[in-house]
């Protein structure tokens, strides 16, 4: 095995090892983007398949989860979302798409369900940014690079998201 083949094998192993531990987070990202659980399921499956197909292009030592997120987002933007828009329907905002079981009363004396409903009502770009920064721990700079927007846009989206939540009190 030459060095290139060894690197490809290392990439495949690393990607494969991280797929299963990343499933729940990929699904959450897919759900926040699509607001549809069936689409989220399919989007995660497509992401995993794409990652395995292209695992030899992953650079060992970099973060697999961020790479998977970038793949998921691109499949969403390039294939699923754009297809639905082309078909004329766009996405119908189902009520309470982002929900969770149980009341889970949390800080501010509101419930997790109320918070998720508020997130649900945010525009897609805000939902995505809020998830990446507050759910996934991206720095502002990382979120800006991942989403291809200025840091000022990240700041504005996060502030809008938090302002919407602040009204829940």
């Amino acid at each position: 095995m030459n060095s290139s083949e060894a690197m490809s094998e290392a990439s495949r192993r690393e990607v494969r090892a991280e797929l299963e531990p990343s499933l729940a987070r990929l699904w959450r990202y897919a759900l926040v983007l699509s607001k549809a659980r069936d689409v989220a399921d399919d989007l995660v499956q497509a992401t995993c398949l794409r990652a395995i197909e292209r695992a030899d292009q992953f650079v060992p030592g970099t973060r697999v989860d961020r790479w998977l997120f970038a793949i998921l987002r691109s499949i969403w933007l390039n294939e699923i979302r754009s297809r639905r828009i082309r078909e004329g329907g766009g996405f119908v905002d189902a009520e309470e798409t982002l929900t969770t079981d149980g009341a889970h009363e949390i800080e501010m004396n509101i419930t997790a369900s109320a918070v998720l409903r508020a997130i649900d009502r945010l525009p897609e770009a805000q939902r995505e940014t809020v998830l990446l920064v507050y759910g996934e721990g991206y720095s502002y700079a990382e979120a800006a690079a991942a989403l291809g927007v200025p840091i000022g846009t990240i700041m504005s989206r996060l502030a809008s998201g938090r302002a919407a939540l602040a009204k829940l009190k």
């Binding site: 995993c48 292009q57 501010m108 000022g152």
Partner: protein, 252 residues
């Protein structure tokens, strides 16, 4: 949402630079209404994180695990088993994965001089689609503000007037970095939404005339002046990239 919300949230998230932080803290000390708003926004942090954590528990893990391709899938995977095969343009598949990998490498500093900045930019440009920048339609004031901010970071006079390009619409300007050097990006789209980027890297490069090349489906035209390298890149004909570069070379 109030005018100061973005700054307050950035302060809460510890994302303000020192001078902005100092200035905002001084205002907070003197302004009770601002302190009240800060507290309102601060209190939303924990519920957000908690709610997202709870959402993880709803993931249908058994179903998702069952759908994972088998261990040796890389060698024998049959994409028709998945619903999205017919939606995927082949070039997107290749560009996506390659671009994502190199984007990750560049983002996390793995190039380390083994490759040049044009390669880094070319590889993440593969990730941009006709939908990435097209939704951005800034008004004149926003355009001027964004350009001014990026111009200040890269030491160039960037205005809507000197960056107007024929057949292209300005969408946004933002900062990245390459090996610690400021890298300003001005993103345009053509009428179909296809991105064309002007990148300015503060690298102290010696002055150099415009050169060009093709990398896959991307055309690149670059030059250097005043210690800054400039690059025009996009899925456009090479001669158009050169023409855009020469137009810009005279102005900035």
């Amino acid at each position: 949402m109030f005018d100061d919300d973005a700054q307050l949230v950035a302060l809460i998230d510890n994302e303000l630079d020192n001078s902005s932080k100092t200035a905002l803290l001084a205002r907070l000390a003197a302004d009770e209404d601002l302190r009240r708003r800060y507290e309102e926004l601060r209190l939303t942090g924990a519920p957000l994180a908690t709610s997202f954590d709870l959402l993880l528990g709803d993931a249908p893990l058994a179903r998702l695990r069952a759908a994972l391709p088998p261990e040796d899938a890389a060698a024998r995977v049959q994409p028709r088993r998945f619903a999205f095969r017919n939606l995927a343009a082949a070039f997107v598949i290749g560009a996506l994965a390659a671009g994502a990998a190199i984007w990750a490498a560049s983002t996390f500093g793995l190039f380390d001089g083994r490759d040049d900045w044009r390669t880094a930019i070319a590889e993440y440009t593969h990730l941009y689609t006709d939908e990435t920048f097209a939704p951005f339609k800034p008004d004149a004031a926003m355009q001027a503000t964004e350009l001014s901010a990026v111009g200040a970071k890269v030491g160039a006079n960037l205005t809507p007037e000197n960056l107007t390009l024929p057949g292209l619409r300005f969408t946004t300007a933002f900062m990245l970095s390459y090996e610690g050097a400021p890298l300003g990006v001005i993103a345009y789209v053509d009428p179909s939404g296809e991105p064309v980027l002007l990148c300015i890297l503060v690298d102290q490069a010696p002055d150099a005339p415009t050169r060009s090349e093709r990398r896959g489906d991307l055309s690149l035209a670059w030059w250097a002046r005043g210690g800054r390298s400039r690059l025009v890149i996009g899925r456009i004909p090479e001669e158009r990239a050169v023409a855009l570069a020469q137009t810009l070379e005279k102005r900035i």
